[in-house]
Point group: none
DNA sequence: ATAGATTTGTTCGTATGTATA
DNA sequence: GTATACATACGAACAAATCTA
C-alpha cells in the first residue's frame, strides 16, 4: 500500500485515500478514541481537495472505522466497530 | 403535470424537471422568499444526477423563478420576476 | 458569559471524462 | 457529430457545533 495517491491509477482518488487511511487505522497508527488529523492536513499531505478528503471520510464512516463529529473532528473507532 | 420524470418521454430530463418545479412554484408550493429544497433532495426524489438538477435550476433562473445564491441555495422569486 | 477561532457540514460554481442516444 | 446524462474532482462561500482564551 503506497502512501500516496496514484494519479494515473484507474481507481478514484477518494477510494485510494480511504484505503490509505483505513490501513493506517488498522495498523494502529491512528489510535481508537483519538481524532484523525483535520481535513486540511490530508488536503495538503495528499494534494487533494476538501471534497475528496470528505468523500474518503464518508467511506471510513460507512465501514465503521471513524465517527464524524461536527465541530470536533473524526473519531477513530476500535476494531470491534469495523465491518 | 405528473410529478415525476417520464424516462421514455421524448423530452429531456432536465426540461421535465424544470417544468415540474416551475409548476410547484407557480402553485405556491414553494413560497417566494424561501429556498428551494437542496440539489440532493431533487437528485434522490427524482432519481437524477446533480448535473440534471443543476440544468433544471439554470432553466428556472433563466425564467426568473429562482435566483441561485452560492453557498446558500436557490431563492424562490415572486411572480413579478417571472418571465 | 461571550467573543473569536477551529472544525466539520452544507450548498452552489466550474471543469473534465465517459457513456449513451 | 452533438447533446444529454452521469460521476469524479476542485473551488468558494456560508452554516453550525465545539472549543478556547
Amino acid at each position: 500500500m503506497p502512501d500516496e495517491i496514484d494519479r494515473v491509477s484507474e481507481q478514484w482518488f477518494f477510494l485510494q485515500l480511504a484505503a490509505i487511511i483505513r490501513a493506517r487505522i488498522e495498523r494502529g497508527e491512528y489510535e481508537p478514541g483519538t481524532l484523525l488529523p483535520r481535513e486540511p492536513h490530508f488536503m495538503q499531505h495528499y494534494g487533494v481537495s476538501r471534497g475528496t478528503v470528505r468523500k474518503a471520510a464518508e467511506e471510513l464512516a460507512r465501514s465503521g472505522h471513524i465517527r464524524r463529529i461536527k465541530g470536533r473532528g473524526n473519531l477513530v473507532l476500535p476494531p470491534q466497530d469495523w465491518h
